[in-house]
Symmetry: C2
């Protein structure tokens, strides 16, 4: 799906300019607000927030808060949030997924990153300043100017992670302003009964055939880790929604695209408290959880809202609570006395979930075979339909979603499909909407980043295609992105290597000619859970790679205002076969489980080394071996023929023979040669 | 020099076993202590510490300290320390560079890493347990067992970095034990008048021809950074010895190998306090520092020991003190109220020092040309002398040092020379001593990791050679280490890339066959300053790479009990020429400034890709162009001829033609092919 959210500042700088352009704006004047005129000009996409902001200011005044900070996330640091938690969107009108608002008695500002600057100018009214950064230091500086010494800066502590809270505290330290937690959310208060209701959909047990182990086994394993830990924690607190869903093999639909439900869990050495309305549980789920009551495997069901109070009482005792600081809120954290805390970046549940057992691996592999069928159907359909000029981005996305939906065990898309043609694909997070969607054309590149939820797995794949004649630069850039994908996928590396120290292998073919991409290289993925699953991936806060982890590998290239390329596969970390062995454990490598061929029309095979070609051919063999039979089983003969054509082995001799003399296109300088590693191999 | 000290735990695991062997111990029983016998057996290398430990216990008792923690470092977190600061060595007998001792009333233990386990068993007497780890968590657990609840654990706060102090605090948190700072160092107290005196050598100004800019220019620049910083710090506190030496262009000899002197600096926006005995300054230095008195460029000279008290007084005012947390002690840090602190990992002086201006770059380049002459002399001398069986490791190191000493502007070695033959080279930090030194032989590999101090620069280079017939594994491993060195050296990468995300390029050729090395890949280096200069390098706490930085690039391979390989060069970060440009700033690459050819006898050219061969030939051309004339100037004709022979270009055709069929030696499996990227290029 869309690449990992975390983007280092220097990459944002590189990439930032891409999003300053309006994809299709014929006339920028009517498209975005203009607060310099009197009266200000507001486009029809803007929301009038005057009454809302005034109401919030009233609530702030009543509590003596000179500033109020509103984040974009929910109490579980979820990536997608429910409508009920879209406080930032309701207050400001801005619906982007990342942002922070601050309101004082006479000012109001929204901070967001470059992906969303144009969207913000379309959606904000003139009550709001737009701040084109997301650094907490920048927010704090604004606050320091707006709030006098002695003033209170208020936040809902249940909406800020420990780290974010501490960043605010540090930024305001010594300034004479007070960071004041207010547990009653002021936006909720003024939102009132207009606020969407809490999720009430049924929470159900995953059928046993789709689980890696029973919830009782998982609980026993986590308790064993607690016992073996040197600090002997008495409890693990789970506030990530995926943690509870995974632990109990439960699923729900409180959040779009992610089959989770609002919940907390306090798993102690003697008891289990699951904070979720009992009435929401399907009968079978409830009886499974209650089968061993009373006893250490009896799950006590408590109301969702009782979690803080229950925790407060629990920590009165002689206990130690283990939690993951990356996604636990400061509100919960601050309830636990420091000496009773065992802090890790991720809870043992998060870490256990990240390493799939062989059953879970097989499930995910199987989901990817059927997913490949749907994607292949889509690519073939595009190939036939686009030349007739009948497809736009939105229609394409709908078609893709429908093809997935038709596959066995499907539970809908795993995120909002990215279907982007031409210059729109240069916006890394573009999604089309009905009515403002670009036509697909044989004259442009097209990028589809889509994924599915299946009972046996979550998928996420990006393919970029061109049905006409790509420019030399398009072909070169595509080939280099592919070379990066291949080089990372075939890398052999020691056990416990952190993803961040190897992700540059995916960038090097681009770096060699002065190009790069402005996002992360991959993220973990769940078994019918979140498509961005912590803590696996290639970023600085990801844990070391271990056999059994799944991650996306998704380098890209974005040419501002012209085109965008991304090639994304899901890969499983597996043990490698090596001539030698250092240390006790074998080295690791990747097995790519996404099974859809790349666009031959965009590959300049002469740029590839023989090893890259050999790898590609081996990968194509595995696609044929695994997807071919499924296509036949589903009686998709035309797709089967397409697959055979698309996975024809590339001649190794060609890569060797044409090396350095062939279709290097836009390339000319000698410095480029350092990326050209083709040759003749016996 | 010896590779960077920081070693990730997983690498220690890989590498740890290497040091468990005794390099030459004919009989382990007499070589190391045996505390299980009665009386215990102690080798002659052990120190009787009974009286020292008893005296320390007395001092502890007087102050109510149940445990006392003694680190290996000094008050400046120096890598090398003076004899006066060798408290750990005096107390325990153990003279390794890394370790921590803890003493209670009835127990005493030393923690050190695998490099030093054997040495510790030789040097400790039976008062001491040896703990084979360096984790603070392990030290804390030992303390928790040894000290009852309510007990005091005492430390000298001026010998612990902020981070280390906080780690102890965190590890003991909630345990009921108290972390008690005692400013009077108890080891010093019991050491008494046996403790070596403080350094008293003259501190002198570096001649202007060897400086990049005047100290006044440097001070002005730092003050400008203070003004421009959003927090408007009023002072910068310098506690790293290199910081003060660099800022004032002063040098001294308080510490072996590093031309620095004990000092602190408090640079404020209106004044400059240099804490170093005035009488130690050479007259010219004193008059330079005092030329503009009184005034903002007047350097007030205060006694070294006055720094804490002066700082205490300074922070009474309305001030903000900027400091680097990586190397400032907790003792100084805790004097500054939190709201008056501006914390960064490194001070602006440390960062300014790391980026050499063009003058400094030229100076360092020039030093490397003369240094190459000395190394080439040494390699030729070895080639002629070793076959006669007349050289051992110690003699070799002496010869190398003498050859450097004869070069212009020499100021001695920049670290203790590592001269290691055969299995001794598998110990990454081995240095020979007179009398227990291994003979060099045509039947073994030999590793020399040496460096020099010159008025114009500091050098550090490692070459590994074999004068006879290397085994297939030796040749393969050497070639792969070289390939890693080449691949990192020729990498093109975006500006502001952190070294940690690219250092794997130096490992990949080894990884491909299941091999690795257990140390970091490089470290910054100074201009006649430290050979390990923070904060440049490839480790996680190094800053992003910027044009003008110098770093070593030093992959290796160590075969336990058999041989060791390291190939180390110093490289300058320079702008790269690329076909395209992303972002505002050009991409970067490295210019290798070490100018000594590699051992042709150990290179299996068929493993190299054409690009690697081409890079190597270009590098050899630059060696010829730069070192050749200097050899001629010094009338070293034999060395000149040797250089010509040793830098003959490698045939590109050979790499291409023999690819995959040649002398791959110990390699056979198909998986190895992924490292073989040779080919035929037009």
């Amino acid at each position: 799906m869309r690449p990992p959210l975390w983007i280092p500042a220097w990459l944002l700088l590189l990439h930032g300019c891409a999003t300053a352009r309006l994809p299709q704006a014929a006339n920028a004047r009517t498209d975005i607000r203009d607060c310099s005129t009197d009266p200000p000009y507001l486009p029809p996409t803007a929301t009038d927030t005057t009454a809302r902001v005034a109401a919030l200011r009233g609530a702030m005044q009543a509590l003596g808060a000179q500033a109020y900070v509103v984040p974009a996330t929910d109490a579980h640091m979820s990536e997608y949030i429910s409508a009920r938690d879209a406080r930032l969107g309701w207050l400001t009108g801005f619906t982007g997924s990342a942002g922070t608002a601050v309101v004082t008695q006479d000012k109001a500002a929204l901070w967001t990153d470059s992906r969303y600057w144009t969207q913000a100018e379309r959606q904000l009214d003139c009550n709001w300043e737009l701040q084109r950064t997301t650094w907490i230091e920048s927010i704090a500086m604004w606050i320091l100017e707006a709030v006098p010494v002695g003033g209170n800066i208020s936040l809902d502590p249940f909406l800020f992670s420990i780290d974010t809270w501490n960043s605010y505290r540090q930024a305001l330290q010594g300034s004479g302003r007070i960071l004041l937690p207010i547990e009653t959310n002021l936006v909720d208060q003024v939102w009132g009964d207009q606020r969407p209701p809490a999720g009430s959909g049924e929470i159900y047990s995953l059928p046993e055939e789709f689980t890696g182990s029973s919830w009782q086994e998982k609980v026993a394993r986590i308790r064993q880790e607690m016992e073996q830990h040197v600090r002997h924690p008495t409890a693990v607190l789970l506030s990530g929604l995926e943690e509870t869903a995974w632990l109990f093999n439960l699923r729900g639909d409180d959040i779009p695209y992610n089959p989770v439900f609002y919940s907390y869990t306090l798993l102690t050495n003697t008891s289990i408290s699951l904070f979720v309305g009992e009435q929401r549980l399907a009968a079978a789920a409830r009886s499974s959880l209650r089968a061993a009551c009373p006893g250490p495997l009896c799950v006590e069901l408590r109301e969702y809202g009782q979690a803080p109070e229950h925790l407060r009482q629990y920590v009165q005792g002689n206990v130690t609570v283990w939690l993951g600081t990356e996604y636990t809120t400061y509100g919960l954290y601050s309830l636990i006395p420091q000496e009773k805390l065992l802090e890790d970046s991720y809870s043992p549940v998060m870490l256990a979930k990240a390493v799939k057992n062989s059953r879970e691996q097989d499930l995910l592999r199987a989901a990817h075979v059927r997913d490949a069928v749907a994607v292949i159907q889509y690519l073939l359909w595009l190939e036939k339909t686009v030349p007739q000029g009948e497809v736009d981005e939105f229609l394409g996305a709908q078609r893709m979603d429908a093809l997935r939906q038709a596959q066995e065990h499907s539970r809908g898309p795993s995120f909002q499909s990215i279907s982007a043609s031409g210059l729109n694909a240069a916006l890394a997070h573009y999604s089309p909407s009905n009515g403002s969607s670009r036509q697909l054309s044989v004259d442009e590149m097209y990028l589809a980043d889509t994924g599915g939820q299946y009972l046996d797995g979550t998928t996420d794949i990006t393919r970029t295609v061109h049905w006409g004649t790509p420019t030399p630069l398009q072909k070169e850039a595509y080939t280099r992105v592919l070379m990066g994908n291949i080089d990372l996928s075939r890398l052999i590396f020691p056990p416990n290597t952190a993803g961040r120290v190897i992700e540059s292998f995916a960038r090097r073919p681009l770096w060699n000619v002065g190009l790069n991409y402005g996002h992360g290289t991959g993220h973990g993925i769940g078994n019918f859970l979140s498509v961005h699953e912590w803590p696996v991936g290639f970023q600085s806060n990801n844990v070391p790679l271990t056999a059994g982890m799944f991650t996306s590998i998704e380098p890209g290239y974005y040419q501002d205002g012209e085109f965008g390329i991304r090639i994304e596969d899901i890969a499983l970390v597996v043990e490698a076969q090596t001539e030698h062995q250092s240390g006790e454990n074998p080295f690791l490598t990747f097995e790519v489980v996404s099974l859809v061929p790349y666009d031959r029309n965009l590959i300049d095979i002469s740029l590839l080394s023989p090893e890259q070609v050999r790898y590609l051919n081996t990968y194509y063999e595995s696609i044929r071996a695994r997807v071919g039979p499924e296509l036949q089983r589903q009686q998709l003969q035309e797709e089967y023929d397409w697959l055979q054509r698309s996975t024809e082995p590339f001649p190794l001799g060609r890569a060797a023979a044409t090396a350095g003399t062939g279709t290097t296109g836009a390339l000319a300088l000698a410095t480029l040669l350092s990326a050209l590693l083709p040759g003749l191999q016996a």
